[in-house]
Symmetry: C2
Subunit: 260 residues, 2 copies
């Protein structure tokens, strides 16, 4: 598939994308992804895509067998030289699919230098200006870890390069608040909604990185991995008891949000 080189998705990183897990041809959390895409478009000044068109584009690339990762990109559309948007942007829709990566049993984190900027839309939305996340993941890999632990520019916990972060303080499920500069994750929202519906204590907070050293378990969430326990942070593994707690929590989360 080809796109014109004057598309602002390419020239300036103006645009959005969604990555969905598709199981045997059925996109998971389709409505949530479509809704987030529409909200992002409003923030970028782009018309939102038609959900039926997205569905048709997805159908054209999916094999409908097993677990697939579907990516829908929605670009800024062609534009003239310079930063100013065209008066009536005409975004392009690009759908691609690939086998979904296997879900790891655990993930290790390394704190990286690149921080998330709460004043930037790139920290809240999945935009085509995704370089910070690429750099974060690369720095984590260089440190021997699976994923990046990204702080925000205020030094508080934010999220991973491509996943949201949760931890337990006793029985309370904690996660960085959206205004910490974290992706408004579909799985993040599902986990919070499920916990609240079950009456469990939940906090969306601004937390210092030190809480991960003293927490009672931690896990990451994303559309492709669901919920996966954090095994270690910056080379320090959690104890077997803490990891067991994380495993139990993520198993329960995955069961709960997968329930019909």
């Amino acid at each position: 598939m080809l796109i014109p080189a004057d598309d602002r998705g390419f020239t300036l990183g103006v645009g959005l994308f969604e990555t969905l897990l598709v199981i045997d041809g059925v996109p998971q959390f389709w409505a949530g992804h479509m809704d987030r895409l529409a909200r992002g478009c409003a923030q970028l000044g782009l018309p939102a895509p038609d959900a039926d068109a997205c569905g048709a584009a997805a159908a054209a690339v999916l094999t409908r067998k097993g677990r697939e990762a579907l990516r829908l990109s929605w670009t800024g559309g062609s534009g003239a030289r310079g930063l100013a948007a065209p008066p009536s942007p005409r975004p392009r829709l690009i759908a691609t699919a690939a086998p979904a990566p296997p879900v790891p049993a655990t993930l290790s984190l390394a704190t990286v230098g690149v921080r998330r900027n709460p004043s930037s839309l790139t920290s809240r939305l999945k935009t085509l200006s995704y370089l910070d996340n690429v750099q974060a993941r690369q720095a984590a890999a260089a440190a021997g870890a699976d994923e990046a632990l990204m702080l925000n520019t205020g030094g508080h916990l934010a999220c991973a390069a491509a996943a949201n972060l949760f931890w337990f303080r006793g029985d309370t499920l904690c996660t960085p608040a959206l205004d910490c500069g974290v992706l408004d994750g579909i799985m993040r929202a599902a986990v919070l909604a499920e916990a609240r519906a079950a009456g469990r204590p939940v906090e969306e907070i601004e937390g210092p990185p030190s809480v991960l050293a003293t927490c009672d378990g931690a896990f990451l969430t994303s559309s492709l991995i669901g919920a996966v326990p954090v095994a270690a942070v910056d080379g320090k593994p959690y104890s077997a008891a803490i990891l067991a707690r994380s495993r139990s929590a993520t198993s329960a989360v995955v069961r709960a949000i997968s329930a019909p």
Copy 2:
């Protein structure tokens, strides 16, 4: 011109670009732009383009008449799904040209909400993840100004959406230091080098936005505009005397850096 939709320049905003002023077919500051591109590639883990290939690509799109804006884009190259870079990235080179926009006599600034993140490569390099700059310019336009005044996440002065910022404190020429999260501008470097060569006092500093209210003149620089006086900040115009000082300074700068 078309690019494959799996190029990481499009999917993830991995890549760089340079915008050069070309006068009657002669690219200005060619060596400086090529050098910056190579330095950026080293930071992104990309091979640097061959300068001759860049020259040939430029020659193919320039009319060689009058003032043209040449853009050279150097992408991350095709990649598989996910954030990890291919083992041997094969970037694509895309050259485009357009008539250079007219140089304005003055520019007005409006402070915008999106801030520059010194921990992000996107604040230092001209990357394909340029959304923050697009958003900044759009916010400035919505406030009735020509350009954005961007602070960094620490609240200090940084630069405009697509230009560097200078101001005078008495006879001292001041500009935000590179580690404030400003673009390492070709014109910025030329202005600093010229001032130092002439023995004038120069400071690269971390400055609060309040200095612009009490300064003795201010101007913006970029490859396409050269140096242009700032007429007003957040709706407050500079006095005729201050503006005359800025005009005089920018005229001298443009003469000095254009001298053979």
